[in-house]
C-alpha cells in the first residue's frame, strides 16, 4: 500500500513534467512532493558550486572538465527525475536567497530571463548560418557550370542581374557569365564544348564531395548523416558526447554546402536541424542553469530544433509543430512558447540577410491563387497513394542498403563510396536538364504555374495569338511539342531520383532527405497535372469535366498538383501529418490549398502505415539500436514484470550491496567484475529488504574521492549507507559513509505488474531501471534495455539489435 501510494505520487507528479496530461496538480498535491518522495538528501549540498551565470575563468575551457557526481557517461541515458529535482532545488534556493538583498534579487531575475536570452542567441546564430549556407550553395552550385568574370563571387543569376544584354528568348545568358568550355576554348556551342562542360561538371562534383567526406572524416565524424534520428534519441534522454559540439557545428556547416553543391540527391533541412541544435548546445554552456542540468538542456534543444526547421523552410509555425511532432520527446507548454520565439527570431534574421534577393525565405514561394475543384480530389488522392507507396519503398530499400553498409565490406570504404555515388550521379544527371540544375530550382520551377511569359520548355503551350488576358488568368491551352519533350525528360528524372536517393541518404556526408522526397513528389505531381490538364482541354465534353471546366477557362493548375505530390511523398517517408501541411502552406502561401494538401498527406500516411508503422527516422533509430522508447508504439501483450526481469532462472543472482556490511574492496571487485550500471542496496543478504539504489558511476567517483581525500579509508573499510555509522570495534578502520549518493526512492513494481503498465511507466517517467519486489523483498531489476528487447521480441524483431543502455 505504501509503495502504491508512493508510486502514484510519483506518477502524478511527473505528469506535470510534460504536456501529455490535463491534471491540475495543485489540487492533488498541496504538499510539494519533492521533499518527501524524491529525497536526494545531500545531493544539492554535494554539488556546491551552483554559480549564477557560470562564466567562470576563460582559461578553464582549455582544461579537461572534472567529472563530478551527477554527470553521465557517454552513451548512457539520463535520469529525468533527478534532473528535474535538481532544477527545482536550484530554483528554490535562488528564490529564497532573492529576498536577502537587491543583488540577489537581480540575480534571480537574470536567472529567470536566461532562457529567453538563450533563445534569442540561438535564433540569431541559426538564422545567420542558414543565410550563409544558402548564399554559398547558390554560388557553388553554379560554379560547376561556369564562372562570373566581372566578380567571381556572383552566381549565374546574380552575375546577370545588372546586365543589359539579356534578351527575351535567352533570358539567362549574359556575356559576363561564361561556361567553362567557353572560357577555356572560346567556343560556346558544339560537341566539343558540350563534352568539355560535361567533363568539368563531373570533375567539380567529385572535388566537392571528396573535400566534404575528407573534412568529415578528419575533423568531425559525427557530422555525417542527417542528424534527426540521433537528435530524437538525444532529446529522449540519451547522451552522445561531442554530437552537438563546436567542431561538429563548424564542419557540418562547411561540408553541408559542399555536399549540396556537388549535385548529389540530398537536401539541407535535416542537417540544418542538427546545426541549430549545436547552436543550442553552444549557448547552453553560457549559463549554468542549462549546462549543468541535462533535462533543462533538452528543453533548449527542442526549441533549437524548431528554429532549425524554421530557417530551412521559411516556416516558423511549421518548425514548432515539427519539433513537437517529430523530434521532441517531452514538450511542455513552456517549451512551445520558447520554440515559437526562437523560430521567430531565426526567421527574422534570415530574412534580414535576404539570401534570395526577393524578400522571401525559401526558393519556392509561389503566388498564384487559382481555385481548385472537388473533382480534382481524385487525382490528389491518387498522388497520396503514390506518395505512400514510394515512402514504403524508399524506407525498405534504404534500410536494407544501410544495413549492408553496416555489416559488409562496403562500410570499410566510405570515401570511395561517396566518390563513386557522386560520380554516378553527376554522369547521369548532366544530360537531363531537369536533373542538371539544383533540386531546389527544379522544385521551384515545377511548383510555378505557366504564365504567358515563361520561356521554359515546360511552358511551351500553344498560345492563342489574339489572347489579351492578364498574365494570371491564362485559360487552358493545348500542349506544344516542348511540353511533351519535357514530360519525357521529367519521367526519366523521376526514375533516376527514386533510385539514386536510396543510395545517397545515409552516406558519410551531411545529407537530408526533405528536398529529394519533395522533388520526387513534385515531378510525379506535375506529370499527373499536365495529363489532367490536357485531358480537360481535349475532352471538355466528358461528364467529369463538363460540370466544372468550361472551354476558355483556367481549370487545372499543374503547379498545384506538383505541390500536392511533394506533400504526399514527404508525408509517406517521414509520416508527418499536421506539421507537413503547415510547412507546405507556409512554403506556398496558399491557404486555399489546405484541403488538397491534407487529403494527400492523410492518404499517404494511411497507405504507408499499412505496410510498416515506422517512418524513416524511427527505422534508422532501430537500425542503430538506440534506446528509444517510442511514445507511439502500443504494447498490448499480456506479459508480466516477472517475465522480463533479470536475473532469469539460470542467471547468477542479483548483484546487491548491503546497508552496512560491504567493504570498499568488495565494492571495487563488484564494479570491476560486472558492468551493471547500478546496484540495489538491501538491508542484509538474508532479509533482502530494499533500501535504495546507487549508480555505478557515482560509486566509482565517490570511492576514488574518498581514497584520495579522506584519511583512514582503506580496502577493508566498511561502506555504510545508513544515517549513523554501524557499531564497530575500535580496531576496525574508519568506515565510509556513502549515503549522499544513494537514491532512497527507487521505482519499484511488484512481480505481478503487467508489462503494459511497466512500459507506460518507463515511457512517461523516462526511467532507466525499475526494481521488482514481492512482499517487500527484492526479486530483480528491469532496465530500459530489457524493456526494449522484450518489445522487439514481441514484435518479432531481433532483440539483440538493441545495443545501448
Amino acid at each position: 500500500m505504501q509503495q502504491f501510494i508512493s508510486l502514484s505520487y510519483k506518477y502524478i507528479f511527473v505528469m506535470q513534467f510534460h504536456a501529455q496530461t490535463q491534471f491540475s496538480l495543485s489540487d492533488i498535491l498541496k504538499i510539494t512532493p519533492f521533499d518527501d518522495v524524491l529525497t536526494w538528501s545531500g545531493v544539492s549540498a554535494a554539488t556546491p558550486t551552483e554559480e549564477m551565470n557560470g562564466a567562470g575563468n576563460l582559461m578553464d575551457f582549455l582544461d579537461e572538465p572534472f567529472p563530478d557526481v551527477g554527470t553521465y557517461e557517454d552513451f548512457h541515458t539520463i535520469d529525468w527525475l533527478r534532473e528535474k529535482s535538481r532544477d527545482t532545488d536550484r530554483h528554490r534556493k535562488i528564490t529564497s536567497k532573492s529576498k536577502e538583498s537587491m543583488w540577489e534579487l537581480i540575480k534571480s531575475l537574470l536567472d529567470a530571463w536566461s532562457g529567453w536570452v538563450v533563445m534569442l542567441l540561438i535564433g540569431l546564430l541559426s538564422g545567420t548560418l542558414a543565410g550563409v549556407i544558402d548564399l554559398a550553395v547558390d554560388w557553388m552550385t553554379d560554379l560547376k557550370e561556369g564562372v562570373c568574370l566581372s566578380a567571381f563571387w556572383y552566381s549565374h543569376e546574380q552575375c546577370c542581374w545588372t546586365s543589359n544584354e539579356t534578351t527575351f528568348d535567352d533570358r539567362d545568358k549574359c556575356p559576363q557569365w561564361q561556361k567553362w568550355a567557353e572560357l577555356m576554348t572560346g567556343h560556346a556551342e558544339g560537341a566539343g564544348a558540350y563534352v568539355l562542360n560535361y567533363f568539368l561538371y563531373v570533375l567539380w562534383a567529385l572535388l566537392f564531395s571528396f573535400l566534404a567526406v575528407s573534412l568529415v572524416r578528419v575533423f568531425a565524424p559525427y557530422a555525417c548523416g542527417s542528424g534527426i534520428p540521433e537528435i530524437k534519441t538525444i532529446l529522449s534522454g540519451f547522451i552522445i558526447r561531442g554530437y552537438l559540439g563546436k567542431w561538429t557545428l563548424l564542419i557540418k556547416t562547411v561540408t553541408l554546402v559542399l555536399a549540396v553543391s556537388s549535385g548529389l540527391s540530398l537536401g539541407k533541412e535535416g542537417p540544418l536541424v542538427h546545426v541549430a541544435c549545436c547552436c543550442g548546445n553552444l549557448f547552453c554552456s553560457l549559463f549554468s542553469k542549462y549546462s549543468k542540468n541535462e533535462g533543462k538542456r533538452r528543453e533548449v534543444l527542442s526549441a533549437a530544433a524548431a528554429a532549425g526547421v524554421s530557417v530551412a523552410f521559411g516556416a516558423p509555425i511549421g518548425g514548432v509543430l515539427f519539433s513537437l511532432e517529430e523530434v521532441s520527446y517531452y514538450f511542455p507548454l513552456k517549451t512551445l512558447w520558447r520554440s515559437f520565439f526562437a523560430a521567430l527570431v531565426a526567421a527574422f534574421t534570415l530574412r534580414s540577410i535576404n539570401p534570395f534577393g526577393n524578400s522571401r525565405l525559401v526558393l519556392f514561394y509561389v503566388e498564384y491563387h487559382t481555385p481548385w475543384y472537388m473533382a480534382e480530389l481524385v487525382p490528389f488522392i491518387l498522388l497520396g497513394v503514390f506518395g505512400g507507396l514510394w515512402g514504403t519503398l524508399f524506407i525498405r530499400a534504404n534500410i536494407a542498403w544501410c544495413r549492408r553498409r553496416k555489416t559488409t565490406q562496403l562500410g570499410k570504404y566510405p570515401v570511395l563510396e561517396v566518390i563513386a555515388v557522386t560520380g554516378i550521379t553527376a554522369v547521369l544527371a548532366y544530360p537531363n536538364p531537369y536533373t542538371r540544375r539544383s533540386t531546389s530550382e527544379l522544385i521551384s520551377e515545377l511548383f510555378n504555374d505557366c504564365g504567358a511569359l515563361e520561356s521554359s520548355q515546360l511552358c511551351d503551350y500553344i498560345n492563342n495569338p489574339n489572347m489579351s488576358r492578364p498574365v494570371d488568368d491564362i485559360p487552358d491551352r493545348p500542349a506544344g511539342p516542348g511540353v511533351y519533350n519535357a514530360l519525357w525528360q521529367l519521367a526519366l528524372a523521376l526514375i533516376f531520383k527514386i533510385v539514386i536517393t536510396i543510395f545517397t541518404f545515409g552516406m558519410k556526408i551531411p545529407s537530408g532527405l526533405f528536398i529529394p522526397s519533395m522533388a520526387v513528389g513534385a515531378i510525379a505531381g506535375r506529370i499527373v497535372g499536365i495529363a489532367v490538364e490536357q485531358m480537360a482541354y481535349h475532352h471538355h465534353d466528358w461528364i467529369i469535366f463538363k460540370n466544372w471546366c468550361r472551354p476558355g477557362a483556367d481549370c487545372v493548375t499543374p503547379g498545384l498538383y506538383a505541390m500536392v505530390g511533394a506533400a504526399a511523398c514527404l508525408g509517406g517517408v517521414t509520416r508527418m501529418t499536421v506539421s507537413l501541411v503547415v510547412i507546405m502552406f507556409e512554403l506556398t502561401g496558399g491557404l486555399e490549398y489546405i484541403v488538397p494538401l491534407m487529403a494527400a498527406a492523410v492518404t499517404s500516411k494511411w497507405v504507408a502505415d499499412a505496410f510498416g508503422k515506422e517512418g524513416i527516422y524511427e527505422s534508422h533509430i532501430q537500425l542503430n539500436g538506440y534506446p528509444y522508447l517510442d511514445v507511439r508504439d502500443e504494447f498490448t501483450h499480456r506479459t508480466l514484470a516477472t517475465d522480463v526481469m533479470r536475473p532469469r532462472r539460470n542467471d547468477p543472482p542479483l548483484a546487491v550491496l548491503t546497508q552496512d556490511s560491504t567493504t570498499v574492496e568488495d565494492v571495487e571487485t563488484l564494479i570491476k567484475d560486472t558492468d551493471y550500471n547500478g546496484f540495489p542496496v538491501v538491508v542484509s543478504r538474508e532479509s533482502e529488504r530494499l533500501i535504495g539504489f546507487v549508480q555505478r558511476r557515482d560509486l566509482t567517483l565517490a570511492i576514488k574521492n574518498a581514497r584520495q581525500k579522506q584519511d583512514g579509508v582503506v580496502s577493508s573499510s566498511v561502506v555504510y549507507f545508513t544515517e549513523d555509522a554501524p557499531q564497530l570495534l575500535a580496531s576496525n578502520p574508519q568506515p565510509l559513509k556513502l549515503r549522499r549518493i544513494l537514491n532512497l526512492s527507487p521505482f519499484t513494481v511488484t512481480d505481478h505488474t503487467p508489462m503494459e503498465t511497466v512500459v507506460d511507466i518507463f515511457r512517461k517517467l523516462g526511467l532507466r531501471q525499475c526494481l521488482v519486489t514481492r512482499s517487500g523483498r527484492l526479486l530483480g531489476i528491469i532496465t530500459k534495455k530489457d524493456v526494449l528487447r522484450h518489445m522487439a521480441q514481441m514484435m518479432n524483431q531481433d532483440p539483440e539489435s538493441i545495443m545501448f543502455n
Binding site: D63, Y154, F168, P221, G411, A452, L453
Partner: protein
C-alpha cells in the same frame, strides 16, 4: 559667460554632427544603388519581339510606364502592350554576398590547410626529427593507422614552456583523442550513424 548661450552652442554642435553622420550613412547605403531594380518582361506583340527592360527605380515607380523606355508602340496601343507586361521589383545586397562568399572560402581554405598539415606534414616532420623508432611506441592505436595519434606528444618535448602553450597543446591532444574515438565509432565499428 552665459550658460544659456553655451547650451545653445552645444545643441547646435550636436545637431551638426548628427546631420553629418546621417549624410555619411546615406551615401554609404546608397553606394550600391544598383542593388535595386525593376524588371519588366514584355512578350511579343504584333510585330514587335519580346523584350526585357531593367531600371534602377524604387518600388513606387516599378510599373510599365516608368520602366519601359523607349516605348515601342504609339499612344493607343500603350495600354494593351503594358497589360501584357509583367513588372517585378527586386532587391539584393551585393555586399552581403561578397562578404559571405569570401568568408566561406577563407574558412574552407583554412580547414583544408589544417587538414593537409595534420594528415601529411606532421608525420613527415615527426619522422624526420625523431626517426622511425618513436612511431612504434604509439601504444593504444592497435590497428589504427592514424598518423597523428601521438605525434604532438612526441613533438612537444619541453615542459618548461609557459602555461598557456602547454594548456593549448593538452587541449589539442584531448581533442584529437576525442575525434579518434568518434571516428572509431562511426567509421570502424559502425555503432553510431550507420
Amino acid at each position: 559667460w552665459d550658460p544659456g548661450q553655451t547650451v545653445h552652442l552645444l545643441f547646435m554642435y550636436v545637431c551638426v554632427m548628427l546631420h553629418r553622420t546621417h549624410n555619411q550613412m546615406k551615401t554609404y547605403l546608397l553606394q550600391n544603388s544598383e542593388d535595386i531594380r525593376c524588371k519588366c518582361i514584355c512578350p511579343p506583340y504584333r510585330d514587335i519581339e519580346g523584350q526585357i527592360y531593367k531600371q534602377n527605380v524604387s518600388l513606387k515607380d516599378c510599373n510599365c510606364l516608368h520602366v519601359v523606355e523607349p516605348m515601342p508602340v504609339d499612344g493607343k496601343d500603350v495600354e494593351a502592350y503594358c497589360l501584357r507586361c509583367e513588372c517585378k521589383y527586386e532587391e539584393r545586397s551585393s555586399g552581403t554576398i561578397k562578404v559571405t562568399i569570401i568568408m566561406y572560402l577563407s574558412i574552407l581554405g583554412l580547414l583544408l590547410l589544417y587538414m593537409v598539415y595534420l594528415t601529411l606534414l606532421e608525420p613527415m616532420l615527426k619522422r624526420r626529427l625523431f626517426g622511425h623508432s618513436q612511431l612504434i611506441q604509439s601504444d593504444d592505436d592497435v590497428g589504427d593507422q592514424q598518423p597523428f595519434a601521438n605525434a604532438h606528444n612526441v613533438l612537444s618535448r619541453s615542459h618548461s614552456r609557459p602555461n598557456m602553450l602547454n594548456k593549448v597543446e593538452h587541449a589539442q591532444q584531448r581533442w584529437r583523442r576525442q575525434v579518434q574515438e568518434q571516428r572509431k565509432s562511426v567509421f570502424d565499428r559502425h555503432v553510431v550513424l550507420s
